[in-house]
Point group: C2
Chain length 231, copies 2
Amino acid sequence: MSDLPLQPTARTRLGRGRHHAVDDRAALHALLADALVAHIGVVVDGHPVVLPAAYGFDPDGPDDGGSLYLHGSVAARWLRAGAGTDVCVTITELDGLVAARSGFNHSMNYRSAVVIGRARVVEDAVERARALDLIVDQMIAGRSATLRTPTRKELAATIVLAVPLREASLKVSEGDPEDEPEDVAAGVWAGVVPVYRVLGEAVTSADAVGLAVPAHVSARAGGPRDPAPGQ
Amino acid sequence: MSDLPLQPTARTRLGRGRHHAVDDRAALHALLADALVAHIGVVVDGHPVVLPAAYGFDPDGPDDGGSLYLHGSVAARWLRAGAGTDVCVTITELDGLVAARSGFNHSMNYRSAVVIGRARVVEDAVERARALDLIVDQMIAGRSATLRTPTRKELAATIVLAVPLREASLKVSEGDPEDEPEDVAAGVWAGVVPVYRVLGEAVTSADAVGLAVPAHVSARAGGPRDPAPGQ
């Protein structure tokens, strides 16, 4: 596994302010393991397009720094536009609303990874199958092993992209608001409203009523995730 | 208020499949009112950069279709890069994990708005103040009215961008997985794991201990939002 530090470059280097950059590949992998939705930016006809999508990742994948996998329909113009170009994949989990004593110091607590890299079309059948399993298991761990094999038609309809995890940055914002001393002295309340992502009990499909919810699904559902870090 | 239908163009038109486009400006406004984080795509040095940010919006704002507001530090290179260019603002709320009977039919339930438009730097003092208030109140309704006025120094350090809401598309994915008839016939379980965003009880800042949590904060905190639509 790649355990080199993150290598933010001028184009992935994040920010400023009370939020801080985390130079730790394990923390990047922890966020990637926890999150569910990626926002993928590609340039189409000279302007940016950002779309949400599921993803998977393999820290030992063949790309530099490991591989982040995306998939979609071969008919999806934006995904085809991204193939072979530099794309930006941003993965964010919101952890809290930071209610400061001034509008200026209001902010949010969150963890956000920004990955920029050349999107490679995955052609190898074994890697494609593994990438598609990783994307399913990112949603519900252990599920891919319970599913039938994809058909040739399904595979032909699917494009899989890999983005190297080498050029990545991770930003974590946590803790109390940072207010101006004079605002603190004024005796005004400030604090954080924590935000959690909660998975509910699984709802069985109308066409599957009577079938038992599999253990790997009930293990995923039904409880809150751990309280957000930093709050 | 603009109640014209959405006008997806070739560049905002979304997708395919069981997910469906919603041609309804009220539904767009409802998502914008509910969500907390926007992912903003800009083109920097020829490649896309996508960063998460708070936002606010005004359906009656001066831009075509209403105004979506973003703010940040004047020192934030990516925000400055976006000023005067076409940017993409994507706002997504995840509602469920759709556990189908095949990997191919796995997906998520979500609501996602994609707005593409020329980012205008807001210069007018009244509009700037209103935009900054909207961004604070998007997090916690009613909060801006309780805060002191921004200082001249704070205002000088802040850039406010407005993006017209005219060129927008909304995609909603909801309900049960859609499986192949032969997969349904095989008697395999399928369903949806609902995903909720839950706001916890407010945590008072270490430097505000003993002060009462204001009513507008406790009204925001402490309860789950309504169950996600469609699940």
